[in-house]
Amino acid sequence: MAPRSAASLRAQRNLETLLTEYDGARVTLVVRDVATDALQAETDRVVFTPTLIVRIGDAVARIVGDLVDVSAITNVLAMGGLEKKE
């Protein structure tokens, strides 16, 4: 995510809200700031912010945008075998 970016802040809030519905032991969220960690952004080839990179085992998916519609994440997590808590 980018500092002082409304879209990035919205994405972080939307994502954190969503993840409360998942088993915290099975999901790790790392928030990186492209301004202070540009090298990592280069390695991950991040162009647009916010970009959510979801890694489940060897599988990778990228979700760009403020995550107003969280179904994209739930679908990706479901494909990786992660369902919401009962």
Partner: protein
């Protein structure tokens, strides 16, 4: 009294040379420093090559540059540049070029949902700038970067953020963008040109049967630039542009040099001007090639370096024809003073021909250049393509400060003084060769139509072709004499009266010239531009008495045509036929004789000679 406010002239735009041959001329110095240049064009127009050339040149000039690879991987881009000899790998090694990968990762799906910005890329670039001290950036391309395409408002905003960021970092930027078409909306995204300071359009257009590349500076904020399209080509070393304006002409001190024809030098007060372009115009058979030969020999004999480009006949034929006129060239070629190159302009695009001429000028460094004829080049291209070629050629000659003699075939009967205006403007001197038919002979003339910066004789001089080439001398004024190749003889024997001649020739102006000459002898001429048309005429209710046939024809050549005619039953298979061709080697003659030709006439020839051959053939016993 009111004092008008004084206006302050804005400072001149600081520029960085691109090193792309010709571009720094049409842009008056290159791309603007610290500002954005947009390069647009359809796929295959050479945008990436152009951008890599600029990146390479900036790196060589010490302007540290970042190359953002979006459309291709960094490895592929660097390989493209290295193949063109741009030394990108070397630049990366010495730290003057940095390549960053912004291509879309293909290791998994990418989904877009909601609002976003381009801070990821801008922060990456900012970090590279801080780390390396980069001052320039090349982005290939905006179209690939914004794919899938965001909604228009967001797209506009993202592109604006990107360009604004480049400017904030004081980067000189070159951004590439895809166009959907050569003309019309500049880019497929439709937002880039508004925020960039310079817009360059590359085109690769199908013009007739050929492709024609061009470049245009569509906009250049706060700087003058050349307007309109300029021809360009892609060589093994990248894009080369041909500025049409000869602004870089070296100062000429009005030095004169002999033309090789003392009579002509007398008409123009002492000789041709150095670094000037001479166009020699006249109908087929008027002596243009002979004059070109005399000019070239005379220069080489004086010790000058002369480059002769022939487009009308193969080199052995050209040299043999010169030798037959007493203009031997072997020793001059052996001495290295004269280089003769013959080629068919159809075999290469005009841009490639210009590149080849440019390389010839740079390597051989001739002081005199001959092109015989520009009409052959004209036949092989569209009107616009030929115009661009001629203006590019003139620019090339003047840029290198070379004197040139170009020949141009005009149709018999056409006023040779009137031709495309740009050709007249390009030429410093225009000579008109012509002939009229008087009694049984030709009366040849030479006239100086134009001689920039010099007094000259305006009436025609007599021209004689014979051993030793040409001779020019004043002619006695004959009251009532009619000038020009349209002249009708008063008491001329019309030896081909009512003879039906089928003339098979693919070049329309050559056909027209021969037809007019034969008609003056009374012949009824039926024209055919190819073998199929000719065969149809032979089988028509009024077959010809004699056939005059070119051998080099499109689709089916004259040899094959005559074989087919000879296979026809009855008198049709025995119609006497003369070959009229530039190919004059013994094996060519033998091939023609085997096919069934009865006579062999080598071009160029005097109309009276051809008429004599036809007269003999139609009187002779038919097969």
């Amino acid at each position: 009294m009111t004092t008008l406010p004084t206006t302050t002239r804005p400072p001149a735009v600081a520029k960085i040379p691109t090193g792309v041959p010709g571009f720094d001329s049409i842009s008056y110095g290159g791309i603007p420093k610290g500002r954005s240049t947009l390069v647009v064009g359809r796929a295959g127009t050479g945008k990436t090559i152009f951008a890599l050339q600029i990146a390479s040149n900036m790196a060589k000039l010490g302007v540290k540059t970042v190359l953002v690879a979006v459309e291709e991987t960094p490895e592929d881009l660097v390989m493209t540049g290295d193949t063109l000899g741009l030394g990108l790998s070397e630049a990366i090694q010495n730290g003057s070029l940095r390549v960053t990968d912004a291509s879309r990762p293909m290791d998994g799906p990418m989904v877009v949902t909601g609002d976003y910005d381009i801070s990821g890329l801008t922060h990456r670039i900012e970090a590279i700038v801080k780390q390396t001290g980069a001052q320039a950036i090349v982005l290939d391309s905006a179209t690939a970067l914004f794919s899938p395409r965001p909604p228009q408002e967001l797209l506009r905003s993202l592109f604006f953020q990107l360009i604004h960021h480049f400017k904030k970092l004081d980067l000189t930027s070159v951004v590439l963008a895809e166009a959907a078409q050569d003309y019309g909306q500049l880019t497929t995204l439709g937002v880039e040109d508004y925020v960039c300071d310079v817009v360059v359009i590359l085109r690769n257009i199908i013009d007739g049967e050929r492709r024609r590349r061009s470049i245009e500076i569509n906009k250049y904020r706060r700087s003058a630039h050349y307007k309109g399209e300029y021809p360009c080509t892609i060589t093994a070393n990248g894009l080369t542009i041909f500025p049409l304006d000869a602004k870089d002409r070296p100062d000429s001190d009005q030095e004169r040099y002999p033309s090789g024809l003392p009579g002509l030098d007398g008409m123009i007060e002492g000789g041709l001007f150095r670094d000037s372009i001479v166009i020699v115009r006249g109908p087929t058979g008027s002596g243009k090639t002979t004059l070109a030969g005399v000019y070239a020999r005379s220069g080489a004999e004086r010790g000058e370096r002369v480059a002769y480009y022939g487009f009308e006949e193969p080199k052995p034929i050209l040299l043999r024809n010169f030798a037959a006129l007493g203009l031997p060239t072997n020793e001059l070629i052996a001495s290295g003073n004269l280089v003769v190159q013959c080629r068919y302009p159809e075999a290469m695009g005009l841009e490639d021909l210009l590149v080849s001429l440019r390389m010839g000028l740079e390597e051989f460094k001739p002081s005199l250049v001959v092109l015989d004829s520009i009409s052959s080049i004209e036949h092989s291209s569209s009107e616009k393509g030929f115009r661009q070629f001629m203006v590019g050629l003139a620019s090339l000659l003047r840029e290198h400060g070379r004197s040139a003699l170009l020949t141009q075939t005009v149709m018999g009967g056409e006023n040779p003084g009137h031709t495309a205006p740009y050709l007249s403007t390009l030429a410093d001197t225009i000579l008109i060769l012509d002939y009229s038919i008087e009694k049984y002979d030709l009366s040849r003339t030479m006239r100086v139509l134009k001689m920039r910066g010099s007094a000259h004789v305006t009436h025609p001089y007599r021209l004689a072709i014979g051993q030793g080439g040409l001779q020019v001398e004043p002619q006695a004024f004959k009251p009532g004499a009619v000038e020009g190749s349209q002249a009708r003889p008063v008491d001329r024997a019309r030896k081909l009266e009512n003879v039906r001649v089928l003339l098979v020739e693919d070049f329309s102006d050559a056909r027209e010239a021969i037809k007019l000459a034969l008609q003056r002898d009374g012949a009824q001429v039926v024209e055919a531009a190819n073998a199929a048309e000719a065969f149809a005429v032979v089988q028509s209710p009024t077959p010809p008495d004699v056939i005059v046939c070119d051998i080099g024809l499109p689709d089916e050549d004259g040899i094959s045509l005559v074989k087919r005619i000879r296979a026809l039953p009855g008198s049709l298979g025995r119609i006497p036929t003369a070959a009229l061709t530039a190919w004059g080697l013994d094996e060519d003659r033998a091939r023609a004789a085997d096919a069934g030709f009865d006579a062999y006439v080598i071009k160029p020839t005097d109309p009276s000679n051809l008429a004599g051959v036809i007269d003999r053939l139609r009187q002779g016993p038919k097969r």
